[in-house]
Homo-oligomer: 369 residues x 2
DNA sequence: ATCCTGTGATTAATCCTTTAAGCAAGGTCG
DNA sequence: CGACCTTGCTTAAAGGATTAATCACAGGAT
């Protein structure tokens, strides 16, 4: 391992690798890592004493002087505990696993990871990640790898919220579901989709809209919770908001899929109908994006001719002109909460619904008369 | 830190949690994990023998019968090695750290992680991740946490490619830079931005374009490699392609930042000039997105009135109409390569440039006459 | 009968921490 | 004065794997 000659010892760095102050012990060996025993020897105490000091055990009775000597020695030698030895002994690793189906294909994954990471960091834990890509074989492999390493807990995450079956082996470990539910009675974290549906519709109603359309893959909605929990819940919230005012959906425009092109097709067909709704609720931002395009093609102005609202808060929502008003998936908060639940031994089973804030931008206006 | 010949993946790894067949040993204690000693006892052999069998050591001379007994015992008891104990002894953890500045804010991060994950998995390693958010304090913390855990290596990643200073402590560990370079002579992985610049310009030239504009934060380009390496390199490639045909850039439109709104402003100003270029190279997809909007506002059709090319291959590139032709950042491949380099003991320092494939969609046409 | 060699195993040391148990000296209490 | 507690430490035993060193035995050569 070659080291450049311009090595400068950073001030904050206790000593790591700086052999300057280290005593040579006989042979001139390749830098052995500093162990607790080294620290103890340096401080003129037993390893037990050193361990007590460094772990700040209050029940241990040690002189203030001894305490200082140990601390000084550790500092000087640049001691860092060997995590493997420690875990072996105490049977904890301060490591948690985040196993998800997909991390890369959705742009939201990052938010969950970041939230999880931040809590993990605050609680002195680290995060191991693995991806199953929905493949049972890979999943088995990932779970194996994690359990071998005796992680203290597992966050089992789905990138699209849905109901899933938790592998048996995870049930023996502390597990929290992220963006998913199951029948196993585990703590779970989900976005408050139904409330968001209600809020989105309410925002429209509040502006005076009465002819409201929904654009999405309706066929699957309220049917297959294993594919997407979100769609059904959003829909239910929307219906409830309308019902509270004695209204019903004016139109449900069914799309084949959830992509921009589907939104384009759907919106085009909506605009070709006899009476155009004054507002359209798109079931996600990609559809909304396509809807924007279709509106432009048809010479309709947003929000003057037609209002649009949506769900997710994809980065493009901000780029669109006008900005897209949308209920944000609170991914970061969800990731955070999942790890908190995992680390909280007393957390009870059951689902936590994380609010989806409505990001108000310019796509909702008053209905054209 | 030399370690004997690389261990080979144990083949016994099947058993899973089939505790069903586990024998109770005396007390009815809370299920103790099965250890190697248990397996050995079950097979009527020493732990040494069991270890040899399970690790498939060829130099060990064991009878075929003993081998089978160990394997059977491991299988039956559902043995899985204790990673902590193993790491403690062999001084390897089969764990690699991915430390990045940001994982969540860019939608590309996922690709890198996924690539890293996939080769880590193939090589029987797991991935620890940490995020510094550019904060030196958090960075120190993250590096500490990783080194405590004696990771076998660190992938130090930047989410926007640039030149950075590697913390001293990392230089004592095996480190590979991902999407970054440094002056430390470490192996590094970067996208082949200059080639991409060349390819993008060449694609335009090939269609007959001669009046070509560039849209981007030109001020920073070729100046501050710490902010963005990409911009300067892309620019150089573009210039070279033009020079090869004896041409120069028709216009350089400077934007204030890299966002969609900047692209919109820049494109608008471009279109207001006296002689409009026949093609515009946007320095990234967000700018291109804004440029699309501006073109639409100005009543210019893409690609009939004006062609647009770009860099990155953001998901929106596909959603736009027409699809945006753009040079893709090969994030997944980069992540993959970084881990490969990390795990390849013999990998030499120096930068690996990963090709950026040009995704041809519909935004390049022939120049209007 | 003795020495040597190859085979098929075992014993014991080691990796580094944590922690239960014990010990020596000095002070307190009855 | 002896029993007993505190204080401030130390010793030694885990914890579960890998591995250097050793051993018992059978068979062949001398």
């Amino acid at each position: 391992m070659d080291v450049p000659e311009d090595r400068i010892k950073p001030a904050y760095d206790g000593a790591a690798g700086s052999a300057t102050s280290r005593e040579y012990e006989g042979e001139h060996m390749a830098q052995r890592r500093v162990t607790l025993a080294d620290v103890a020897r340096h401080a003129g105490l037993s390893t037990t004493a050193a361990s007590w000091v460094l772990n700040e055990r209050e029940d241990a009775r040690l002189s203030e002087d001894a305490r200082r000597r140990v601390l000084a020695a550790a500092q000087e030698l640049g001691y860092r505990p060997n995590a493997a030895a420690r875990s072996l002994r105490i049977r904890k690793t301060a490591t948690i696993a985040l196993i998800s189906d997909t991390v890369a294909t959705t742009r939201f994954a990052g938010g969950m990871i970041r939230g999880a990471l931040s809590v993990a960091r605050d609680r002195e834990h680290v995060l191991l990640i693995a991806e199953t890509q929905g493949d049972p074989e890979l999943e088995r492999h990932a779970i194996d790898a994690m359990l071998h390493r005796q992680v203290d807990g597992v966050v089992y995450a789905a990138m699209y919220s849905r109901r899933l079956t938790v592998p048996q082996r995870l049930l023996d470990t502390r597990t929290v579901l992220l963006n998913a539910t199951s029948a196993h009675g585990l703590p779970a974290v989900l976005p408050a989709e139904e409330d968001a549906g209600y809020a989105v519709a309410a925002a429209l109603l509040g502006q005076g809209h009465r002819r409201i359309a929904v654009l999405g893959r309706i066929e699957s909605i309220e049917r297959s919770p294993r594919r997407s929990l979100a769609a059904g819940l959003r829909m239910r919230g929307i219906r409830r908001a309308l019902a509270d005012r004695g209204l019903r959906l004016a139109v449900s425009e069914h799309t084949r899929d959830w992509e921009a092109r589907d939104g384009h097709a759907g919106m085009t067909s909506l605009l070709e109908r006899g009476s155009i709704p004054s507002a359209v609720i798109c079931m996600n931002d990609r559809l909304a994006f396509g809807a924007y395009q279709a509106a432009a093609d048809a010479g309709k102005a947003i929000p003057d001719d037609i209002s649009i609202v949506s769900f997710d808060d994809d980065p493009i929502a901000e780029w669109l002109r006008p900005g897209l008003t949308t209920a944000a998936l609170p991914h970061e908060e969800m990731g955070r909460l999942a790890v908190e639940l995992l680390l909280d031994e007393t957390a009870e089973p059951g689902t936590r619904w994380v609010p989806m804030p409505l990001r108000e931008r310019g796509s909702i206006g008053q209905p054209a008369t």
